[in-house]
Symmetry: C2
Subunit: 148 residues, 2 copies
């Protein structure tokens, strides 16, 4: 059993919740994603090989995964919330293009350091953070979008 299954199982037990096969299926699929996913991505990719897991179960499992710390909410795009894994992937931030919807991932150590410093100043114990920059990508600017 993977470490993440242990973690999730422990979390559920601590909350008096059950570690069901359906939740394992959802967790395993989540662990297979290397990029962002939304609830529907998750449901569809599970549904391809497992017709038994319902959309409701997927939607119900997501907040549990967030609370257990295995995934975080990242972006909101076109009315949908995206999630991504926390453990096993490097943290990065996002730029979302308002023109074409493209997502650019970036990472900057100075940004991380600065945030850590700010948290220290406020005596705030950081668990996670989310930085989303919205605007227009190079290509969309070239097309004349986002002027002004």
């Amino acid at each position: 059993m993977r470490q993440e299954e242990d973690e999730f199982g422990n979390y559920l037990k601590k909350q008096g919740l059950k570690f069901t096969p359906e939740r394992v299926v959802v967790l395993d699929k989540v662990l297979s994603f290397k990029k962002h996913f939304n609830a529907d991505d998750l449901y569809e990719s599970i549904h391809k090989y497992n017709k038994k897991i319902s959309r409701a179960t997927v939607y119900r499992t997501i907040p549990l995964l967030v609370e257990s710390g295995l995934i975080i909410e990242t972006l909101r795009c076109q009315g949908r919330v995206s999630y991504e894994r926390v453990i096993g992937f490097e943290h990065h931030d996002h730029m979302v293009c308002l023109g074409c919807g493209k997502i650019i991932e970036f990472k900057d150590d100075r940004l991380e350091e600065l945030q850590a410093e700010i948290c220290e100043r406020y005596e705030f114990k950081q668990v996670e953070h989310r930085l989303g920059i919205r605007g227009y990508c190079k290509e969309c600017v070239a097309k004349g979008l986002g002027k002004g």
Copy 2:
């Protein structure tokens, strides 16, 4: 006419859009908010004294205000998106305490500069950004929350 009306008017003109009385009403109400608001807050408070402005117009005007730089999307709670004014209020970011729900607002110029620099590197035209740090505040840490 307020500076913000000029700004919004100029933005609209530049985009070939019209500066209608309805948009002025929405803008003026937005300017009256001192804290975050969501689309429904905005519609309801306009509707109290102006029954002519439709919900659709309010929803249609919000993205224009975002693109013009007068407001930004801030937080998403309970499935609703919140906005807040940019001009006239200093931009700030948020720390959200997972223990007590407290929201701490902070501002750091170096953070802003760094973001501008990163956008430049990617030739990305920033419209707005949102940084949310989640964790535990001083008081909650003292209470023993957020260990591990």
